[in-house]
């Protein structure tokens, strides 16, 4: 883990707290009156958002970049 500045530590703590509050609100408010069965599952949006973020970065880094990366003056 990288060493963080005080401001960055505060931002990360705020994010963690916000995520926890949202999980609580999810339990209270979501899960009713939905179009798809997935929406009615609690924490669906949290899991989907988190997994999407991981998939995007890992695929971009380990699959796309090795295939497409060339020197900056490749076309010159």
């Amino acid at each position: 883990m990288k060493k963080l500045s005080k401001t960055a530590r505060t931002a990360v703590r705020l994010l963690f707290t916000g995520c926890l509050i949202l999980l609580g609100l999810d339990l209270a408010l979501l899960g009713h009156d939905t179009h798809f069965i997935y929406e009615s599952r609690h924490f669906f949006y949290a899991c989907f958002g988190f997994c999407s973020g991981l998939i995007i970065v890992l695929l971009a880094k380990h699959v796309l970049r090795p295939i497409v990366k060339r020197s900056e003056d490749y076309y010159e």
Binding site: A46, S52, I56, K61, L64, V68, Y75
Partner: protein, 566 residues
């Protein structure tokens, strides 16, 4: 009754007028007054058809105003005003003149009521965009300009061919709703697809936008693709092929944007992602989805130009838009940072920002139609755009590590333009029912601000941000690198040249082989011709056998030719 003043004429005349003035103060005044006058003129015009005439048997309709063309025209007026205010901070008046001409051509496309007028403004739009690109006067900009021009010439030819075939089929040039039922419709569709940056036809966009000047990129981001989205909404609403074309557009740019170092190119990829949402909305074809697509055009023009303007301001002060050379500018440029964050929040559809009010319409339309796979794609794309445009762009430009750059805040006209755009992003986001929804082409009975919707959207985005944070802290997030990332244009920029060399080698080898075969054939022909002489000479046969040899030789030649032809 006299014809009303055509909005295009105001912009074209302004392009001439503004190039006459060199005083920056007068120009700054004009760039505010002219679009405001244009807006008033447009507001005063009731829906209807104006400027109609017949020439050589063709019926032209140059000004067709209905709710669809009106909302596009409104946002084009607002955007040109904001961008020109921004541009007066540093550029010469000739750039402003091109800006007016470019915006005027986009208005011409939007108001055209027949295919020929539409095509003429379509080509003028391309030419003025190329002129804006070339104004940067660098080698890379020139190459990007040629790339832009060639791609759009091909797209324009497809469009023109489609229009001609359509006229031959129907005997009318009136712009009507079409479906993909024949060659003419497919050609028109593909012509629009080039300008809309459909997948595989998109490389002109990510190649050229980051190479334009600071203001040029802002201009280009507003008019070209949105004119194409308008055309799709006008000609192909409800065309189901658009749904999956749009879905691909929302997904693939995300991966490129994550590994891209040039922040203006990151924004160019995210532009394709956002246009994908609009294309899906048009493809779904319901009132809600088309309203969503049009609303997304309106908000996208504001927040995307805001993002390009804030990165442009950074580039203006630091000389670079590459993430590797930036970082820690929030203290030096606090207002620009705030504007960039507002633009980032809007593009990410954070509740109470403009993107939320528009994107929700498209996502809800997909859910209402029970398109499960599409709905999941849209959620994935929403998380993805937050990742690269919502977090990456402001983070690497203004926060991240301290690059050591200590610069002044952006000049006042830039701040004013960014401030207006940021204000509109917030006001539309908070009060869409009073600002945006009344302008949409169909009546809206949609409320994006239900508790469940707000919580689910915050949850999606916050946990995507959590993934970003954990990946960054653990060192897994890909480091920014100076590199060229190959895209589909590699096939015609590199592979095609190799193919041409290979084809040249094959042609040269074949011609050598044919030359050898020809020499052998001539030699055999001569031997056959002289055979009777030889026989007469050696055996004493009568000279009448001589023609037999010539006939044999000719028959051989004829048979060889026949084999080649078959």
């Amino acid at each position: 009754m006299s014809e009303p003043l055509h909005p295009v004429l105001i912009f074209y005349f302004s392009a001439l007028l503004i190039s006459l003035f060199s005083s920056r103060k007068i120009v700054q005044l004009l760039v505010i007054i002219i679009p405001l006058f244009g807006l008033l003129n447009l507001y005063s015009l009731p829906d209807g058809s104006y400027h109609q005439f017949t020439l050589h048997g063709f019926h032209f309709l140059a000004l067709n105003i209905d709710p669809l063309s009106r909302i596009f025209a409104y946002i084009f007026h607002i955007a040109v005003c904001i961008t020109l205010i921004y541009t007066t901070a540093f550029d010469d008046t000739s750039k402003l003149a091109f800006g007016f001409f470019y915006a005027g051509s986009a208005l011409g496309v939007v108001f055209a009521g027949d295919f020929l007028t539409f095509y003429i403004f379509w080509e003028l739009l391309t030419l003025s965009a190329v002129a804006i690109l070339l104004k940067r006067k660098t080698d890379r900009a020139a190459r990007a300009g040629i790339h832009y021009l060639l791609t759009h010439v091909v797209g324009g030819l497809a469009l023109l061919s489609g229009v001609i075939l359509h006229y031959l089929d129907y005997g009318s040039l009136q712009m009507i709703r079409l479906s993909l039922s024949g060659t003419a419709e497919w050609l028109i569709f593909m012509g629009l697809g080039v300008m809309c940056a459909f997948p595989l036809l998109h490389c002109w966009l990510t190649d050229s936008y980051p190479e334009a000047s600071i203001s040029g990129t802002v201009f280009l981001s507003i008019f070209t693709t949105k004119s194409a989205v308008y055309s799709l909404a006008r000609i192909f609403p409800g065309q189901s092929e658009l749904i999956w074309i749009g879905a691909v557009m929302t997904i693939f740019p995300i991966f490129y944007a994550v590994i891209e170092n040039d922040l203006r190119r990151v924004l160019s990829y995210s532009l394709i992602n956002q246009v994908g949402f609009m294309v899906i909305g048009i493809g779904l074809g319901t009132y809600l989805s088309i309203n969503g697509a049009v609303a997304h055009v309106f908000t996208h023009i504001l927040y995307k130009s805001l993002l390009f303007m804030s990165i442009g301001a950074v580039m203006f002060r630091t000389g670079t838009a590459r993430a590797t050379g930036l970082g820690g500018l929030a203290r030096s440029m606090p207002f620009t940072t705030a504007c960039c964050i507002i633009g980032a929040a809007s593009i990410s559809a954070v509740p109470f920002f403009s993107g939320f009010a528009s994107k929700s319409l498209v996502v809800s339309a997909a859910a209402d139609g029970h398109h499960l796979a599409l709905w999941l794609v849209l959620l994935f794309a929403s998380a993805g755009v937050f990742h690269h445009a919502g977090i990456k762009v402001p983070f690497f430009a203004f926060f991240s590590h301290d690059s050591g750059l200590r610069v002044k805040e952006a000049p006042l006209p830039m701040l004013a333009a960014m401030g207006i755009a940021a204000f509109l992003c917030v006001i539309i986001g908070v009060f869409p029912e009073y600002t945006l929804y009344p302008l949409l082409p169909y009546p809206v009975s949609y409320n994006p601000y239900t508790a469940a919707h707000i919580v689910s959207q915050f949850e999606l985005l916050s946990f995507a941000a959590l993934a970003f944070t954990l990946l960054l802290l653990s060192g897994i997030y890909p480091a920014e690198m100076r590199a060229t990332n190959l895209d589909f244009d590699w096939f015609y920029r590199k592979a095609a040249s190799w193919l041409i060399v290979a084809a040249g080698v094959i042609v040269a080898a074949t011609s050598k082989l044919l030359e050898l075969a020809g020499k052998m054939l001539v030699s055999v022909y001569h031997r056959l011709r002289t055979l009777p002489d030889y026989l007469v000479y050696t055996t004493g046969l009568k000279s009448t056998v001589r023609p037999i040899g010539e006939s044999l030789a000719l028959a051989l030649l004829f048979m060889t030719a026949l084999i080649f032809i078959m």
